[in-house]
């Protein structure tokens, strides 16, 4: 047991550092990367694309993707080392995680050769940004309850319906949409997975304002939107298989979140507000620290397993299930420490911003409750609850009134 890099890891790390030193500014010790997501910057997308292109052109993008698709053909281990190093530098926020983390792997697994040829290398370079059109007003946790319809017309599919919570829809060139192509089939059977050009006629995008005032996600309306059958991913009616691939990759890529307020930071805050001698404060901070440490060392264990060739499984849900609620609790506690002045937005410690931003983390990519269900079913192999929606034609499954 040791924390040292193997000679090969050390060599790779040194190369990564050399590239990063040349092209980016290293963070000061204790400074967290979350600090400079200058969200209001109008050039953010362009800067993000420029950074991705630079990485790609120098062999530092999509490390685990096969070379033929624009990757480097390396193992997950190198990718972990790279992420550790990149995280130590001031770089533009990453707007490619949905494409590179989920859409790319889905196309690799289920797409046609033509689709791979046409999309993957551009995706890897950040030339095109991709979005995930899964959730609908009546289908979130229960994704297979989606209703957006796709009807075949000649060589095209004609899409009608509504998607919601689509992150990045306003700046994405391509979207991957799951549709219902056969409402008479059982719930999981009548689905078809399509790629759609987000500039197609009939698509209307309306930003949604979040709790924290930002508009990362959107509503996307489809009115007779056409996309060619050549952009279908997987077989007609077999869309659930592709969706499952996407979701598995999503859970693996979301992870612990990283960045943001840390338990140790609360010591500084407690000192600043004169509460560092308060034992109730010390006890809480200690608990946060122990939990965060547990998460960190769980990451080390995962990294070790990856280095031995294992693929992260459903256990990866732990990172999100622990990290997201903890971020909210840390923020809440940090605000309370400040007494009534805690209502003021304070950028030194960022507790208020974190309090307003963290709830989304507990919902996006599978809620806490869904994560617990995944652990119960896939890791612990516990029996599931009886369901009323299995094997029944989709249009006969009970549903509630539409949400306002």
């Amino acid at each position: 047991m040791d924390f040292k890099d193997t000679p090969a890891e050390a060599e790779f790390r040194a190369k990564a550092r050399a590239f990063l030193d040349e092209h980016a500014e290293r963070l000061a010790p204790g400074e967290s990367a979350a600090g400079f997501m200058e969200r209001d910057d109008p050039d953010l997308i362009k800067k993000s694309q420029a950074w991705q292109a630079l990485k790609k052109d120098n062999g530092w993008a999509c490390l685990t993707w096969p070379k033929e698709y624009g990757g480097q053909g390396l193992s997950s281990l190198e990718s972990v080392v790279w992420n550790q190093e990149e995280g130590k530098y001031r770089t533009p926020p990453n707007v490619f995680s949905i494409g590179l983390g989920m859409m790319g792997p889905t196309i690799m697994a289920h797409g046609t050769d033509e689709q791979k040829e046409r999309f993957l290398a551009r995706m890897a370079r950040g030339d095109d940004i991709w979005c995930q059109l899964f959730s609908e007003p009546a289908a979130g946790s229960d994704l297979a309850g989606l209703r957006t319809s796709a009807v075949r017309d000649g060589d095209d599919w004609v899409i009608n319906g509504q998607k919601i919570w689509t992150t990045g829809a306003t700046y994405c060139k391509w979207g991957m949409v799951i549709t219902r192509s056969d409402p008479n089939a059982a719930k999981h059977d009548g689905l078809t997975y399509l790629i759609v050009d987000m500039e197609s006629p009939g698509i209307e995008i309306r930003p949604i304002k979040q709790i924290n005032g930002a508009s990362g996600f959107n509503e996307v309306f489809f009115s007779d939107v056409r996309t060619p059958d050549s952009l279908r991913v997987g077989a007609v009616g077999d869309g659930w298989r592709g969706a499952t691939t996407t979701l598995m990759n999503e859970r693996a890529s979301i992870g612990g979140g990283g960045g943001g307020l840390r338990a140790e930071d609360l010591l500084g805050l407690a000192k600043k507000v004169g509460r560092l001698d308060d034992s109730s404060v010390r006890q809480r901070i200690a608990d946060f620290y122990v939990r965060a440490s547990g998460l960190k060392y769980t990451g080390y264990r995962t990294q070790t397993a990856i280095s031995r060739g294992s693929i992260p499984g459903p256990e990866a849900s732990i990172g999100k299930l622990v990290g997201a609620p903890m971020m909210q609790e840390l923020a809440s506690f940090g605000i309370d420490l400040q007494g009534s002045a805690g209502v003021l937005i304070d950028r030194d410690f960022g507790c208020q911003d974190s309090y307003l931003g963290s709830p989304g983390m507990r919902i996006a990519g599978g809620t806490d409750e869904i994560m617990r269900d995944i652990i119960a079913r896939r890791v612990l192999r516990l029996p599931t609850e009886p369901r009323v929606d299995k094997g029944v034609p989709f249009n006969q499954i009970p549903s509630g009134p539409p949400t306002p």
Partner: protein, 370 residues
């Protein structure tokens, strides 16, 4: 990065597990619980023969020549089987104290016996209820004679040798005492887990010898407690994992309202939460094991992490074990209470989690100041 145990270490763990599965079913713990025995002598002998007691003792003193990575895995298995032997106390506290401070002749004298299981050691610190202040003990050691009373001495019913924290002319020192000596009165106290006895030791002019330097008592004790906390955390972790496994199996076999109770989300989600906290505790224990093995500067912080999370998971899984078993969980006949007792016992013997949280914060503040 290699944050895992080696194949040989895992093999050793498997051997220990297989042995205990065979030789130490929960009925063994129950037998001690229901009799006047203070520990299982047969298993203690086996533990010595297989080298578990001397895993971290150098071979020249009769040790097995393993290391701490092996030792923690043995502790995990001992914890998993709720083996009623004074393992953590004799190995984690007494042996560590002598390894840390013993003169060569003391090592020769005591470690060989501790490794062979002929001697059972303990560490006596507390003198009254409430958190212990190491610098502030009233038991005295003057002119070779020990006077005072120690309470809640771990495995105090089984031990024959105690390392005692005493006041030596205004400073603290450690003193080794033979518990069979004149002037020592031992009273086994009623406690939560009688399979790991605690005793009151009364010293009236008992003969002892200094362990380590005069005035080094508090610092040495803290060092020993930190190291023992990591070993004990592994024992706690093993017990927690076993409690969880039994609960998971029970809730899947038990039906209510026409289906297994583990299909109800109120149960499933709580089991998922326990699984998550078990993994976090395990990871903190790994870090502790690494710190022990390498004697890392981070050891005191690693000890706090391991101790706090293992105490939490021990209590959580045993409380939930009783609850999820329903009525049978509350019976003497079912095994749940043995986990419930042991978890609480181990969570307190080295000081409560509150005390370790406070210590962690002191370390973190010191680290930030540096």
């Amino acid at each position: 990065m290699n944050f895992d145990f080696s194949e040989e270490q895992k093999l050793l763990k498997k051997t220990v597990q297989d042995f205990l599965t065979e030789q130490a079913p929960l009925a063994v713990n129950r037998a001690v619980l229901e009799s006047d025995a203070v520990y299982d002598e047969g298993l203690w002998k086996s533990a010595a023969e297989m080298g578990w007691l001397g895993a971290a003792i150098p071979e020249e003193y009769g040790g097995a020549g393993f290391g701490y990575l092996e030792l923690v895995l043995i502790a995990e298995e001992v914890g998993r089987a709720l083996v009623p032997i004074p393992f953590g106390t004799s190995v984690g506290l007494a042996t560590e104290a002598i390894l840390a401070a013993g003169k060569p002749e003391q090592k020769e004298k005591y470690l060989t016996g501790l490794a062979a299981g002929d001697r059972i050691g303990t560490l006596a610190i507390a003198e009254g209820p409430g958190p212990v202040k190491l610098e502030d003990v009233t038991t005295t050691f003057e002119n070779g004679a020990l006077n005072g009373t120690k309470i809640a001495v771990p495995d105090g019913g089984a031990a024959d040798t105690a390392v005692v924290l005493a006041n030596t002319g205004g400073a603290t020192s450690l003193v080794i005492v033979d518990l069979g000596a004149d002037g020592v009165t031992r009273t086994v106290q009623r406690s939560i887990d009688p399979t790991r006895t605690v005793a009151t030791l009364e010293f009236k002019g008992a003969a002892g010898e200094l362990l380590g330097g005069q005035g080094e008592g508090a610092a040495l004790t803290q060092r020993v407690l930190d190291r023992a906390a990591i070993l004990t955390a592994w024992e706690q972790l093993g017990g927690a994992q076993r409690a969880f496994d039994i609960t998971q199996e029970f809730t899947t076999g038990r039906y209510a309202f026409g289906r297994p109770i583990s299909s109800f989300q109120a149960i499933r989600h709580r089991l998922a939460d326990q699984y998550v906290d078990l993994e976090l505790a395990r990871s903190n224990c790994y870090y502790g094991a690494w710190a022990l093995e390498t004697n890392a500067d981070e050891l005191p912080i690693a000890a706090c992490n391991a101790r706090i999370s293992a105490t939490h998971i021990g209590e959580l899984t045993s409380v939930e074990m009783v609850q999820m078993h329903g009525g049978v969980g509350y019976t003497w006949e079912y095994d749940c209470h043995m986990f419930y007792r042991r978890a609480k016992h181990l969570g307190l013997v080295l000081g409560s989690a509150d005390e370790w949280r406070e210590r962690l914060i002191q370390h973190l503040i010191a680290k930030q100041a540096a």
